[in-house]
């Protein structure tokens, strides 16, 4: 199944009459929706309460008096260990990690997919299979040896180090979805380009890339959310100066000393999930396609 053919849109017309069964159905689905929304709602209202109200009031109620104390504090004053600069440096780090990682990994995935789909050579699929297998190996198995490799070439605990790691771990899935997309293109197109004298790179740049917009959007969404939400790799490979937002968030919330400020914690949590949520709400259908593309093989 190719990515473009996946559809979860309904077909047929909507039923006109409301029966008791359908009212029950709506009630049930509404309750499910409330359950799913509850944590997001709790996050938002908690971040807008002051600590007195949090201690005495009801978790599920809207704030009696709006307090904007938590947001600026989470943004620029909350403490992660000994440094009290809030999440701002983490956001900058996350951007510094995510942008190059996405560009490098998606470009490489496209190139790999193109080579595998149109320029097959003996043994290529053996390595591709090996690469796919890599997608399922738990990170914990690879983290330490990879750390050794990176420190041997001198990029451990640095920005290039974490970018390389994200490129490596993004490669299996990206190669797969680009290969599948290119394999679904008409082969005659490629043949015609060959007859016109196109070589490997020329065909890639002038024929294939201009046709790759939909799959590139899917790949970018997949990678932006994946890399932004990563915790483990950022913790191990980014180094102290480049800690991504997720790591800093965890440090802010899990501090052992001082009074826990739940409103600041929740504001920080919302700030950290803002980018992936924005990507999700804006991209909508594309996000769903990304999931389906990642899940469906062949």
């Amino acid at each position: 199944m190719s990515v473009s053919s996946i559809s979860i849109e309904p077909n047929g017309s909507k039923p006109k009459h409301l029966t008791i069964g359908r009212i029950g159905l709506y009630c049930f689905i509404l309750m499910c929706a409330l359950f799913f929304l509850m944590p997001l709602y709790v996050m938002i209202v908690t971040s807008l309460k002051d600590m007195d109200e949090i201690r005495s009031g009801n978790l599920l109620y809207i704030p009696k008096t709006l307090s904007f104390y938590a947001w600026p504090k989470a943004w620029s004053e909350a403490c992660t260990g000994f440094v009290c600069e809030g999440l701002k440096p983490g956001l900058i780090n996350s951007i510094k990690i995510t942008v190059p990682s996405v560009i490098v990994s998606v470009s490489l995935g496209a190139l790999n997919g193109y080579a595998l789909a149109f320029w097959r050579f003996k043994g290529a699929y053996l390595f591709f299979g090996l690469c796919l297998f890599g997608a399922f190996i738990p990170y914990q198995v690879m983290v330490y040896p990879l750390l050794k490799i990176e420190s041997a070439i001198g990029i451990y605990s640095s920005l290039p180090g974490i970018i390389l790691v994200h490129t490596i771990f993004g490669m299996p899935i990206l190669t797969l979805i680009f290969r599948n997309f290119y394999a679904s293109l008409p082969i005659d197109l490629f043949k015609a380009a060959r007859i016109d004298g196109g070589n490997f790179l020329k065909i890639f740049f002038y024929v294939i890339i201009p046709m790759s917009t939909p799959i590139t959007i899917v790949a970018v969404i997949l990678q932006v959310t994946g890399i932004w939400n990563d915790f483990l790799l950022g913790l191990v490979f980014a180094g102290r100066d480049n800690q991504p937002m997720t790591v800093q968030l965890n440090n802010i919330v899990q501090v052992d000393f001082g009074v826990a400020e739940y409103n600041v914690d929740m504001a920080a949590t919302i700030l950290t999930s803002m980018i992936p949520l924005a990507v999700y709400f804006i991209s909508g259908r594309w996000f769903v396609r990304g999931i389906a593309a990642g899940a469906i093989k062949g």
């Binding site: 979860i8 509850m38 944590p39 890599g134 939400n229 915790f231 899990q254 992936p276 996000f287 769903v288």
Partner: protein, 294 residues
């Protein structure tokens, strides 16, 4: 020579993939296995001790708890995601109003990171100020929700958070399956007078088996990795009641300086993933190809 230069550009283009597959994906496993046979502590050393690390691992009380937890978590999380995911997909498939809104609501947790998921649920399940407190304020004094501080129940709190995050993902996969069902099948089912719930359970569910299998494999492969979620939600506690193999590995690598033990545990993790994947891979790639050819 000719065979080597044939498709040379393609070979050069795929060189990074080949190098990474060999050095990282294969190389790291070999490296980990070799050093799992040593008594390495703070730095990797080649002082072979045979399978002693594995012996120690299986005798470790903490590892026992970790394995038990991963089975509970794996079972509850997989079943929870499948049941709720399928249920949501069926609900959405009833041609309801506001369908895309509901879909958006059920899937948004999947866009959030495990750390965020863990921290939110940690707050909701907070025994002093969380949901329990709300119930008390509403007059339900008997209500108790102390899972996070309860050794027996803490792992189920992790399951709730994980199902909340992952159920939407299964819903999307199942929905894609349901929408692929031909209208004629529904027509003939309704002519036969079979109730809808029966049709879904006994006719449609077997028909979307590939989607179910894919969901199970993807969820199960993720189960073994679970780390950030637990770190954020319980930090492995209370005590080490919610520790998992992934946490055991990371702890021995980075805070207990017990490399040999960490390598041995990571190899066991790897083997368990292979055990989950092998039957599926065999079915997907070998059995199916054979069927297609026959």
């Amino acid at each position: 020579m000719q065979s080597l230069t044939k498709n040379l550009a393609s070979k050069i283009a795929l060189l990074p993939m080949i190098i990474i597959s060999l050095t990282v994906f294969v190389g790291c496993i070999i490296y980990s296995f070799v050093y799992s046979l040593t008594g390495s502590k703070l730095i990797p050393a080649l002082n072979y001790v045979g399978f002693k690390q594995y012996e120690m691992l299986f005798k470790s009380r903490k590892w026992d708890v970790a394995v038990e937890n991963i089975f509970i978590y794996g079972f509850v999380f997989t079943i929870g995601c499948l049941v709720i995911g399928f249920l949501l997909a069926v609900l959405i498939d009833q041609k309801i109003r506001g369908e895309s809104l509901f879909r958006t609501i059920f899937l948004y947790p999947y866009a959030m990171s495990f750390v965020v998921t863990g921290l939110v649920w940690k707050w909701v399940l907070n025994p002093t100020f969380g949901f329990e407190h709300s119930m008390h304020l509403w007059g339900f004094d008997w209500f108790k929700l102390d899972w996070l501080v309860n050794r027996e129940l803490a792992i189920y709190a992790v399951c709730i958070a994980a199902v909340w995050q992952g159920a939407g993902f299964v819903m999307v996969l199942m929905l894609a399956g349901l929408r692929g069902i031909d209208d004629d099948i529904w027509k003939s089912l309704s002519i036969e007078g079979i109730p809808k719930w029966k049709s879904y359970l006994f006719v449609i569910l077997p028909m979307i088996r590939p989607m179910v299998v894919t969901s199970i494999v993807l969820i199960a492969a993720g189960v073994v990795k679970v780390y950030d979620l637990i770190l954020a939600l319980t930090s492995g506690g209370p005590g080490f009641a919610t520790t998992t193999p992934a946490m055991y590995v990371m702890e021995n690598f980075f805070s207990r300086a017990n490399l040999g033990q960490a390598f041995a545990a990571s190899i066991i993790m790897f083997i368990s993933v292979v055990c989950i994947l092998a039957p599926w891979a065999y079915y997907e790639f070998y059995y199916r190809n054979k069927e297609a050819k026959a």
